[in-house]
């Protein structure tokens, strides 16, 4: 049980997480400052500039933090379904009132403010399924119960896909890691990974070569199967899986050509090195890689990057913000930032495992899943490890909704954690 009505004590707060959070926010803002100062050095606190506006958002974020810390921790579990319902309504409302930007209808825009409800749907959804997973009646062996949890997850995913924001939809899928912690069979995680691997391998090599690899793996597996225990069933399962994999491999090209849009095909081809278009579709990635590459070990120095100064990288203040770190602070800088992220993830997971109640634990897993997926996909995309998928880098990318979304995600967890400490 979560301690009811307990007052917030700052000693209960996990300050390690808070410091990591503050460090990342500060570095993010510094990177943004470097982008806006590309041509002429700007005043740090000029509120007309982008970094000035971002500073206001950060400060507003701190206000949110205080509200969360001084709220009653019970409401997050008690009203999880209400938060979830509100976020779904906000998503639905987009179809009527939303503004279309770059083919996505992800924004509310009023009185000069804009808001992206999908960012808030993340913590709401996490709260909702954590609530169900931690429920006393939840049975990890029951398929029915799992279907419920998946429905909770897939409704926002479906809506977000309809709105055209594939990146955010992908982020939601990462929350399955929390399900796994709650007892979801492993093949729900492994299955998609295997399918993705098969898909990319087929596109990179060819269906025939991929099938050959699958065939060899299957042969090896059959050879390794323990002949004394359930030999026939296991061998049959392997054969069925192999045939399915080969079938999927041969249909990969069909999926690629028909299910994906042209620009998505281009992005995948660029990633696989099949399309060399440094001036067209591959321009962003090419310029981004140059920025990282030119940074070297120690970088060009703060505000001294030529790629940044020359505005060579489109969308640098949002999706490509990490290039600033890469160029101006080099490998040392990128390594440091990645380590800060890694420490934050591990710290939250550690705290989650420490929880006595499952709700906070699953929610903690969901928080890490969301932030990690943003972190990984964003960086992988701009260094050429993943196809271009437009999602922001947490705490770094310019914009209010995402920043507030991540802030809320983390601090609800820290609040829950602080309260649980109270229970001792």
């Amino acid at each position: 049980m979560i301690g009811r009505g307990a007052k917030f004590k700052y000693t209960n707060l996990d300050w390690i997480s808070v410091l990591l959070f503050l460090a990342l926010v500060f570095l993010g803002w510094l990177s943004l400052y470097a982008v806006t100062s590309a041509n002429t050095v700007q005043d740090y606190f000029d509120l007309d500039t982008l970094h000035g506006k971002q500073l206001i958002r950060i400060l507003l974020g701190f206000v949110l933090v205080l509200i969360i810390l001084f709220s009653d921790a019970v409401i997050y579990k008690k009203y999880a379904i209400v938060f979830y319902a509100i976020s779904l309504l906000l998503l639905l409302g987009l179809f009527v009132l939303g503004n279309k930007i770059n083919g996505e209808i992800s924004w509310y825009r009023f009185l000069g403010f804009s808001m992206q409800p999908s960012e808030f749907a993340k913590f709401a959804t996490a709260l909702a399924f954590s609530n169900i997973l931690s429920g006393k009646q939840f049975d990890a062996e029951s398929i029915e119960d799992w279907v419920k949890v998946f429905i909770i997850l897939f409704i926002p995913v479906f809506l977000i896909l309809l709105l055209g924001d594939e990146g955010s939809a992908l982020v939601f899928l990462f929350m399955i890691f929390a399900f796994y912690r709650a007892g979801l069979p492993w093949f729900f995680i492994l299955g998609p990974i295997v399918l993705l691997l098969l898909f990319m391998t087929t596109l990179y090599l060819s269906p025939l070569k991929t099938s050959l690899i699958v065939f060899l793996i299957a042969l090896y597996s059959i050879y390794k199967v323990d002949k004394r225990r359930k030999y026939l069933e296991r061998t049959t399962l392997i054969v069925v899986l192999a045939v399915a994999a080969i079938g999927f491999s041969f249909s990969s090209h069909y999926i690629f050509n028909n299910a994906l849009k042209h620009h998505q095909q281009d992005r995948i081809n660029i990633l696989l090195g099949k399309l060399d278009d440094n001036r067209g579709a591959g321009y962003n990635l090419h310029q981004s890689e140059i920025a990282f590459g030119v940074g070297g070990f120690s970088g060009s120095g703060f505000l001294k990057g030529t790629q940044t100064a020359g505005s060579f990288i489109p969308e640098q203040k949002t999706d490509y913000i990490f290039t600033v770190v890469g160029e101006e602070f080099g490998f040392g800088g990128t390594f440091t930032v990645i380590m800060l992220f890694l420490l934050l993830f591990m710290r939250i997971l550690y705290l989650a495992e420490r929880q006595k109640n499952d709700f906070t634990r699953y929610y903690g897993y969901a928080v890490v899943a969301v932030i990690f997926s943003h972190f990984f996909i964003n960086i992988a995309m701009i260094i050429g490890l993943a196809p271009t998928i437009g999602i922001p880098l947490p705490f770094f990318s310019y914009g209010g909704s995402a920043l507030w979304g991540f802030t809320i995600l983390i601090f609800i967890f820290l609040k829950l954690d602080a309260n649980s400490v109270n229970e001792w």
Binding site: A38, N39, F177, Y180, R181, G183, W186, I189, Q287, E289, I290, A291, F292, G293, V294, G295, G296, F297, T306, Q307, A309, G310, S311, F312, G326, G330, F331, T334, F335, I338, F341, L342, F345, M346, L349, E353, Y365, V368, A369, F372, F376, I379, A380, I383, G384, L385
Partner: protein, 621 residues
């Protein structure tokens, strides 16, 4: 699998993947991307080198550079402009301002274009201090030629921005570069232009560069062009131009011992500063369209005339060398030379049958004598063609009928006919060398340029050799070592044979020769007059125009320091204009002062020729 460890493991592995990739990009591929980045963001900017100066042979500075300042504008960068005070500063009205801004915007909003060009130094001083207030405007320095003397435009030439044609052919040049397009500016372009410098500036995605230089290691300083010294003598050149004022024609003066061109006068010409005068650009462009006066034509190098009597010297020399005459050979001249049933070449030597030896034939310009000599040279072959070929080949040794190889970008070959020319000309008829007799006296088919005649005179003065005439004496203070100009060209005549010819040429002045009125007291001068017949064709009729006045001379007789050829178009006998001009030039060069002021006054204040040219123009129209 352990449910607690699985997710942290996935995170760790994927993060490791990111780090490995970053390590590859940032550490392993660093130098590769560094190159790409510098390609991206560094714009090579070029620093124009100072063009070399031009001096005359006595190291008098003729051509230097002058900075010119333009106000440039980048429309996109204009910010909070106080139009009123800006217009007052530049002394323009608002309409002009609006018009100019519009023009700049049409060109480009992001790139600089000229707002106002050619600021004077005074204007610059006023504006420069205040310029920083006006964002989007800046002052750009350019370099133009500055001419200390308005002289020798044909030798100096001029420079212009390179044309797209040149850019396509020559990779050195960039748009906006200056290039010599005539005169020594063209022929010594590679020496005068220097080496362009390079600096690297930061460029942004829109191609704009900033003022700061990012990469000082790779910068290349501009190397100023080398200075050149001409062989031209400023005083002589200017005096020649003065004498030729109001006339048409050319004076070519050569130092025989070296082939150096002391003066290369063409008239009419133009003031070289016209080429840099922006306000007067129209006047400069008009020069190219003047087809009547042709001021851009270098008559000394390009104009081809029948050489007339001076050519007789070559005829005589070849005859001597071929041993068909000797200095003691003489003819009796009775007003002309019969060489066929009805063929007669008139002669005005006035010797009335008294024996005419070679020297006398030269100074009295006896047609009969040289016709006889030409006949003997050309007729002792089996075929007429062989005779003409032999003669033609010997004439060409004097530098006729081909480009001399002067270090200026223009020239003409002239024409020396040979056997095949006449075979073609008389295709159906059998012909004899006598049919080409006019060649003997420099008429007929022979065409020469003034510089070829001057060169021939130098070869006579040198008694048998010449150096290729040239206008550049020193490069960066060091004498030119171009083998082309330091090689002796032998004309194929033995030294002894020059004696009677030179003696005859001396008598042109000294005795009752054709140049006796242009004698210079105290200077032994050798010369030869000539007239060159010329015609125009209008309405299908061939109209004879007044003869060109020609004179060749060298002096002093025993140690020649100057050899020259003077052509004055349509000025009649050689003795009327060309001879006095030639003698004044010689005196000016050898003495520095003119003793015969009356003669000089007559040449300078001549009104007759101007009238003549007017009537010829009327005739043409």
């Amino acid at each position: 699998m352990n449910k607690k460890l699985f997710f942290p493991l996935v995170i760790a592995l994927l993060t490791l993947l990111l780090i490995l990739r970053l390590f590859y990009l940032q550490i392993i591929q660093h130098s590769h991307y560094k190159k790409l980045a510098s390609k991206n963001s560094r714009v090579k900017e070029y620093i124009a080198p100072d063009r070399g100066y031009i001096f005359d042979r006595n190291d008098t500075l003729l051509v230097t550079n002058q900075p010119v300042y333009d106000i440039m504008v980048v429309p996109k960068k204009i910010k909070n402009l106080d139009t009123l005070t800006f217009c007052q500063l530049l002394k323009i009205d608002k309409q002009t301002f609006i018009k100019k801004i519009k023009k700049a915007k049409v060109y480009s909003r992001r790139l600089a274009s000229v707002f106002q060009s050619h600021l004077t130094i005074d204007e610059l001083a006023q504006i420069q201090e205040l310029m920083f207030q006006y964002k989007g405007f800046y002052i750009q320095r350019r370099s133009l030629r500055k001419y200390k003397y308005e002289t020798a435009a044909n030798v100096l030439g001029y420079i212009r921005e390179v044309t797209p044609g040149v850019l396509a052919k020559n990779s050195y040049y960039r748009s906006g570069d200056l290039i010599g397009v005539s005169g020594v500016e063209k022929s010594y372009e590679n020496i005068l232009r220097g080496v362009r410098g390079e600096r690297y500036a930061v460029k942004n995605n829109y191609g704009q560069s900033s003022e700061e230089t990012v990469d000082t290691i790779n910068n290349i300083n501009a190397v100023a062009g080398k200075d050149i010294s001409l062989t031209i003598d400023l005083t002589l050149q200017r005096y020649g131009e003065l004498l030729m004022k109001g006339k048409r024609g050319a004076i070519v003066a050569i130092e025989p011992k070296t082939g150096e061109l002391l003066a290369l006068v063409t008239a009419p010409s133009y003031a070289p500063s016209l080429s840099v005068n922006k306000i007067n650009r129209k006047a400069f462009n008009a020069l190219f369209r003047d087809t009547i006066q042709q001021p851009m034509l270098d008559r000394g190098l390009q104009a081809m005339y029948p050489p007339g009597s001076p050519f007789k010297a070559v005829t005589g020399l070849i005859a001597l060398q071929n041993k068909v005459i000797t200095p003691s050979t003489f003819v009796h001249c009775y007003h002309g030379f019969h060489y066929g049933k009805h063929a007669f070449m008139a002669c005005h030597c006035g010797t009335n049958g008294s024996p005419v030896y070679l020297d006398k034939a030269v100074y009295r310009s006896c047609n009969t004598y040289f016709s006889n000599a030409y006949r003997k040279v050309t007729e002792h072959f089996e075929t007429s063609k062989e005779g003409l070929d032999s003669w033609s080949e010997q004439v060409k040794k004097f530098g006729f009928g081909k480009f001399l190889g002067v270090d200026l970008p223009v020239g003409s070959k002239g024409f020396i006919p040979d056997g095949s020319f006449y075979n073609h000309y008389y295709s159906k008829y059998k012909w004899y060398p006598m049919a080409t007799l006019s060649n003997a006296i420099g008429q007929g088919e022979v065409l020469t340029t003034p510089i070829q005649l001057a060169n021939m005179t130098a070869a006579i003065a040198n008694k048998g050799y010449y150096y290729t005439p040239h206008v550049v004496k020193k490069i960066e203070g060091k004498a030119i070592a171009n083998i082309k100009f330091t090689t002796k060209h032998l004309v194929g005549i033995d030294g002894e044979y020059f004696k009677p010819i030179i003696s005859g040429m001396y008598d042109v002045y000294a005795k009752k020769g054709t140049g006796r009125f242009a004698r210079i007291p105290g200077i032994k001068i050798c010369g030869k007059t000539g007239t060159s017949e010329n015609y125009i064709r209008t309405d299908g009729k061939r109209i004879k125009l007044p003869d060109h006045s020609i004179f060749i001379a060298f002096a002093p007789k025993d140690n020649p320091k100057i050899a020259l050829a003077v052509f004055v178009e349509n000025a009649g006998f050689g003795s009327t204009y060309a001879a006095p001009i030639a003698s004044l030039m010689v005196e000016k060069y050898l003495r520095g002062t003119i003793s015969r002021t009356d003669l000089e006054w007559r040449m300078l204040n001549d009104k007759q020729l101007a009238k003549m040219y007017k009537s010829i123009i009327a005739l043409k129209e």
